[in-house]
């Protein structure tokens, strides 16, 4: 379990994240949602140690993240940021192999190679493992990065808006993969999402932020209702039940 306690981050005098406390359960997908500037990405960055918190603490399975060695932390928590433009020419296999870096420092043993093979196979990247990343489509590249995280083999996988710039087909593909990571491999996934419907359909729990504070925190079915959404987004959003999915119809509200 990841415990976030009274976490705050200030830029100048303005609090971007203010006294946020949240518990994230193992073996689930937890989505962070909220309007722009709510502090979702900042919170995720602090949990993953990319940013230092100004006050408060983060515990991963009861260990304070600030006291962990970088390398040990990298074996337990991985983070994928919005994959921005990368002009490093690596092949898919090379990238995935770097997922083993915290374990092997770049000298892969047989065990590492086996795990890399599995990660590539799991993401069905076998036929493009020798292609360079800059030759791939956005969806393929995102899959390559997730494959790297699988090879990194951490209990917790954090993703910051992994669906950015992906079309519908690839977005669904990525979300299904994350679902499988949780259901089949027993990972814990924490994800910042913009599209509320992806959060509704795929996550177990939702944490809603607004102006740097947690406004809602609970199982998905408790959050996806017109009343809660009004509080989070200041919009009247009708909910439609379609087979097992609750869809928020926000387009004309």
């Amino acid at each position: 379990m990841i415990q976030v306690r009274e976490l705050s981050k200030f830029y100048g005098k303005k609090a971007v994240v203010e006294k946020v406390s949240v518990n994230i359960q193992r073996g689930q997908i937890t989505s962070f949602i909220g309007p722009n500037g709510a502090g979702k990405s900042t919170l995720l960055s602090m949990v993953s140690r990319l940013l230092d918190a100004d006050t408060g603490e983060v515990l991963v399975d009861k260990d304070d993240v600030r006291k962990m060695k970088s390398n040990d932390f990298a074996k337990r928590v991985s983070i994928l940021k919005q994959s921005n433009f990368m002009n490093v020419r690596l092949t898919v296999r090379e990238l995935v192999s770097f997922g083993r870096f915290p374990h092997s420092k770049g000298r892969l043993n047989e065990e590492d190679v086996r795990i890399v093979d599995q990660a590539i196979e799991y993401m069905e990247l076998g036929d493009m493992e020798d292609s360079y990343l800059d030759e791939l489509s956005g969806g393929q590249r995102q899959r390559a990065f997730i494959s790297m995280v699988i090879a990194q083999d951490t209990e917790y996988v954090l993703l910051d808006e992994p669906l950015n710039n992906l079309d519908m087909k690839h977005s669904v593909q990525i979300m299904k993969i994350l679902r499988r990571l949780v259901d089949e491999l027993g990972k814990t996934v924490i994800i910042v999402l913009h599209d509320i419907n992806f959060a509704s359909v795929y996550s177990d729990r939702i944490v809603a932020l607004k102006d740097g504070r947690v406004v809602k925190d609970g199982p998905t079915e408790d959050i996806i209702n017109s009343e809660s959404l009004k509080e989070i987004y200041d919009m009247d959003i009708p909910i439609k039940q379609m087979s097992n999915c609750r869809i928020c119809v926000y387009f004309n509200s």
């Binding site: 990319l50 970088s70 990298a74 002009n87 090379e94 870096f101 420092k105 770049g106 990194q152």
Partner: protein
Amino acid sequence: MKTRYLIAGLILLSFTSLFVGVSSITPMDLLDWSSEETQIFLISRVPRLVAILLAGAGMSVAGMIMQQLSRNKFVSPTTAGTLDATRLGILVSMLLFTNATLLEQMAISFAFALAGTLLFMQILDRIKFKDAIFIPLVGLMFGNILSSLTTFFAYRSNVIQNMSSWLQGDFSMIMSGRYELLYISVPILVLAYVYANRFTVAGMGEDFSRNLGLNYKFVVNFGLILVALVTVTVVLTVGMIPFLGLIIPNIVSIMKGDNLEKTLPHTALMGAIFLLICDILGRVLIYPYEISISLMVGVIGSGIFLYLLFRRKAYA
């Protein structure tokens, strides 16, 4: 290109280089150990070859490390002010410590080269507009500012003539006793290879490095120290060799990607070969005179560089 072809080419060219020159030496002359030819061979030809190989490999690898760490394909000791900072350092050591030994000179210019490169990286950090072409332009401007400082102080103290010998790379002055500093490149190249994986990870950005548990700042600073050391030893012994650290890593990157552990030996080999070719051409073209290496590399290199610029979209 396969590595073994490169090695074969390197050996062939090295052999050619040893027997090209004003005084004709044939392999047969070397059988007589005390002959004049043998002496020339040992005092001039062999050191020259070694210097070319080390400078070529060193500058290419230095360029590759810089490109990886700055995440920009057009950053190199030439385009980031490292070379100019080194020259400023040499001037300072000449003015302030008139009787400085080579090692003291090296220490001072190393400090300048490192400070200059770090300053450039700081500027790079602060620039919001990270365009691939814009950044090396900033680097060139930065280098020119340093260079004009050097010229100004050199002019005021009448050492312009002296400084120009460091402006133009030249292998014709290389003789035994004057180039041994270059051997520092050997352990640096080994270290660079040991750290190759870390440089590759650092090249993917700070967040990416942290995710993999890498101490990003340490690796970047360590890389820049290696770059500054190589640059300083080359400038002090041979002089400035422009573009070398730019062209070779780019060619290798297009052919073999950016996984440094895989490409570093290739880059070193290609750098040595490229410099050898330039040197041999420079010696043969206007025989018995010589075209300086920086001119040869500049002409051939800028041609290749232009070509790379035009086809940049294809791979960057």
